[in-house]
Symmetry: C2
Subunit: 567 residues, 2 copies
């Protein structure tokens, strides 16, 4: 018997054996395989399109997902269009936490806290204003567009779903190094508004709105405060515990892997504990990231510091790409599209009215709140220019996977047929809004920023060093910067070229200037408290035990993570 | 209305809202929360027990899991004992790949390929011998112990389940730096025998053994060869593609994150593609790890190198701890235990006979195959000593999560009652064998090695530098080693203190010496081929484009990953 024959038979044996495997298990393997391949393709394509100013990684992933969806749809002859059904758990439990954690871990803390008041205005009052406008607009328009039977609950749910900006999308179009003020305002708003949205969404699902009393309004306000503070405290406590454990137990003595593992697990624990107690996991893990970058990160070994910085960014990058790919592939949910009975004109009307309401709802709080800030600020340099207001308005218009997840949650519970036609229409409309807003606003925001807020408005020559492309290797520039910028106006004796440099930039001033004097006092008190009590307990820059023990050099002060703390 | 009241009402609002959430979703959050907390506890406990020579991380995790299982069992009043049911998919799709990949990524390649023939002997012939002994012993003993109705298929399945050593357990008790020969033999066997087990297990599930012909035996042999070579080639090709992409596209120019993401995704793709085609994912991802550490790793930036080295180790560490925790928690599967009707005496008999068969089955191939190696080796230094044989025998006796997964796969398909009693008995017996063998052999192996094969047998003074505790920071020792060992007998001009040092060690010789002359020729030819064709195409040490472009120093040669390539 020839060897070829044996191999052939062996192959058929393996195929026969395959019948024994569970089919659903294997379908899972097929879809994982497809997703991983597409992720690789996205990374390669995104790299090739790096120089293209219209495309970014998220749009590439979205379009690639859409194309794959079309291919699957055609090859299954219109029967099936998605390989994985949109799964809320996958999204909220596995994909979102690394993205938000990394955002907190790498956020410029000083910029964030400087604008904290403005961020809270946008993220709380703004969401309520937008919610009111989108809800009432939906109530007014949708009944004229073939959706006459919507309950008050559904209308309010639409208001919540479309009133909050998507923080993951924001990360893609705004750059922390190029436009720190705009990034911290819009992304910070995206983090804070999660708590507002959670509260509003739960209120919408819980209350009976036919006899809504002012007391219940007060309850909603109270539950926001409870949610906001308990989530924040949970995140901060998790971060501090990780810092304390790593500082006292000194894992680095034996193993860098344990340090990194503890950091990852504690960060994740802060998210999942928040979810366990029905709090806002996004807020928790964001503040956990901030605390970890301030304390824990300084307590680990040099290798762990490099590893965590890049590993967290990589996890976040993979999760982001995955989400956009997923949304793109899921968009052609053929069952839902078949179920909607709306004509093209009606669908376009629904989409158009929603987009209009989103534009209006955001304009209705961005411009007044910014103007309020400008009115109360005395220093002329502290005003938010009209151009900046436009960017803040525009860059926050994208709706993303959170909206889709909430729409699925709200509109797939009912079982009666009439309602499910309307539900399907609402879901397809949500998907359309997400796709179009991500692609349109995502591709137009960078050119808009370049047009309205060109680099010379921000600083004269910092872009070479601080563009996202260069920032990954920013440490290569430090010697240069130190040479040329050392004698600058800012005479502090810290070692950080980048932070030093950032300090010299004429910073665009913000709504936070409203409270400049109290804020700097708070900052001063915090610095004293931090140095006197927090750092000795939890570690942090300059308080790391191993530095003296091991005879290693002191922790470097020129790390990007640290450019926030020198004044 | 008092603020306290508002907060209280708000809290109750949140709790009310919680009823709306899907209960199963929230149960999932509860179990994730519990697992993450336990993982943190394991890491802290494992760190505290670092100096204890009887305990290791895996036993800590296993015992912690058992204790938690007991607590859950008691608090649910005997109704429920596990928080998550043992899930094959979770194990094979998510937990196993990072462990095996990291093992391939960090394996000492020279040691591995030097012993390749011996590894193949143990991993292929050894598994068949052990399979024959365990199966026939099971057939003989089990009918006397209350399991008279076992089908021939079940008996053969037991043979497969208990004939393969568990590579994850092996990683825990053997140390690559302390006992490189033993590690490469036993762990290499664990990787190779996965292919053998897969083939045997599928054959058992597929064939009708009442009329088994020699032709079918040949088919099994053929499918082993097919599986082995196609899995290996798949892994190698994935690794090479990743190296080629990173070398030509030069991701590091823009972003270290993309490099790392591509490495992770391509490695995972090699595993999942192998699963897709019903090959051995373990073999694929192991060889992908080897190729990546030889080529890809040298093509990425310095930061990516540090990050990948530690991030892969961390992922593997978390997955290992998770598996042991999981096995521990799952052991008290109260439904299965209730269903078995065996008395304690019968259960003990089943356990005892299986353990005896495992001991016997492994002895039956380790000693003869080692003796065969000794017989054919001429050089007296190349013999495997009797003590080393005992360690090889003993260290491979652990059975782990793979056995449990296979047992669940085999014994949970039938639905009729009589059969399910026997199936439950077989599953509880498997769990008992895994628990006891992991705890007993896991805790006794390190002392046994210390007793039979003390450090002075291996080398005179290398342990201080090469112990697992120090190896993480081995680069700190390099200047010292370079000073004192530079003029050693090994006069190559490479820069590596550690590898230099390793070379000077009197290496225990192996069965691979059987083929020393041809093997060194092969090695020589490979080196020439590698330098002439492979490295210019796929990168690798000394062929990295960015080194010259960026004006960075040449890739360091003293990295641990590289201590294998200097001769």
């Amino acid at each position: 018997m020839a060897v070829g024959n044996v191999v052939g038979v062996a192959h058929s044996l393996l195929l026969r054996a395959s019948d024994l495997k569970d089919d659903t298990d294997h379908m899972n393997v097929v879809s994982i395989c497809l997703f991983v391949s597409l992720l690789c393709a996205c990374i390669v394509l995104g790299h090739l399109l790096e120089e293209n100013k219209w495309m970014n990684e998220s749009i590439t992933a979205l379009l690639l997902g859409l194309c794959t969806g079309v291919v699957v749809l055609i090859s299954s002859r219109g029967q099936s269009s998605h390989v994985l059904k949109f799964d809320e758990e996958l999204f909220f439990i596995y994909l979102l936490p690394p993205i938000i954690f990394n955002a907190g871990f790498s956020v410029k803390k000083k910029e964030f806290f400087r604008n904290f008041i403005a961020i809270m205005f946008f993220g709380v009052i703004g969401v309520f204003i937008s919610f009111a406008i989108v809800s009432s607009g939906t109530w007014y328009f949708f009944s004229k567009l073939g959706l006459a039977n919507l309950s008050i609950r559904d209308i309010l749910a639409i208001g919540v779903i479309f009133s909050a900006t998507d923080s993951v999308c924001t990360l893609q179009v705004l750059n922390q190094d190029e436009t720190p003020l705009l990034y911290s305002l819009v992304f910070g708003e995206g983090v804070v508004n999660d708590a507002t949205s959670v509260v509003l969404f739960r209120a919408v699902q819980t209350y009976n709105f036919d006899n809504f009393t002012p007391l219940e309004g007060l309850q909603i306000g109270g539950s926001f405060l409870y949610l906001f503070f308990s989530s924040t405290i949970l995140g901060i406590v998790s971060g501090l515990i990780s810092a304390y454990i790593i500082k006292t137990m000194y894992f680095g003595r034996h193993s860098t892997d344990r340090e990194i593992a503890i950091m990852i697990l504690m960060a994740y624990l802060s998210y999942i504990l928040a979810e366990l107690f029905y709090l806002s996991g996004i807020l928790s893990v964001f503040f956990c990231g901030i605390v970890m970058s301030h304390y824990t990160w300084h307590n680990v070994t040099e290798n762990s510091r490099t590893t965590t910085k890049h590993a967290f960014a990589t996890m976040s990058f993979i999760a982001e790409t995955f989400i956009f790919l997923y949304v793109g592939m899921d968009a052609l949910d053929i069952d839902k599209w078949k179920m909607t009975k709306s004509s093209f004109k009606e669908s376009a009307g629904l989409f158009g009215s929603l987009m209009g309401l989103i534009l209006l709802g955001r304009a209705a709080f961005v411009f007044p709140l910014s103007a309020l800030s400008n009115y109360s600020t005395k220093s002329p340099g502290a005003k938010i220019s009209f151009r900046q207001m436009i960017i803040i308005w525009w860059a926050g218009l994208m709706r993303g996977a959170v909206s889709i997840a909430l729409a699925f949650n709200q509109f797939t519970m009912d079982d009666d047929t009439q309602s499910s036609v309307e539900d399907a229409t609402l879901i397809t409309t949500t998907i359309t809004v997400v796709l179009i807003s991500t692609i349109v606003f995502g591709s137009l925001t960078p050119p808009l920023i370049a047009w309205l807020h060109p680099p010379q408005h921000r600083s004269n020559n910092s872009d070479a060093a601080l563009s996202p492309k260069a920032s990954f290797d920013a440490d290569h520039f430090i010697p240069l910067l130190n040479d040329t910028e050392r004698d600058g106006e800012n005479g502090t004796n810290d070692q950080s070229g980048i932070s030093h440099f950032l300090d010299r930039l004429p910073r665009p001033q913000s709504i936070g200037m409203l409270l400049t004097a109290p804020r700097s006092t708070i900052h001063h008190v915090w610095r004293k408290f931090d140095d006197a009590y927090m750092r000795p307990t939890f570690g942090g820059r300059g308080f790391v035990r191993m530095a003296s023990r091991r005879g290693m050099e002191l922790p470097e002060e020129d790390e990007e993570l640290e450019d926030e703390e020198q004044n």
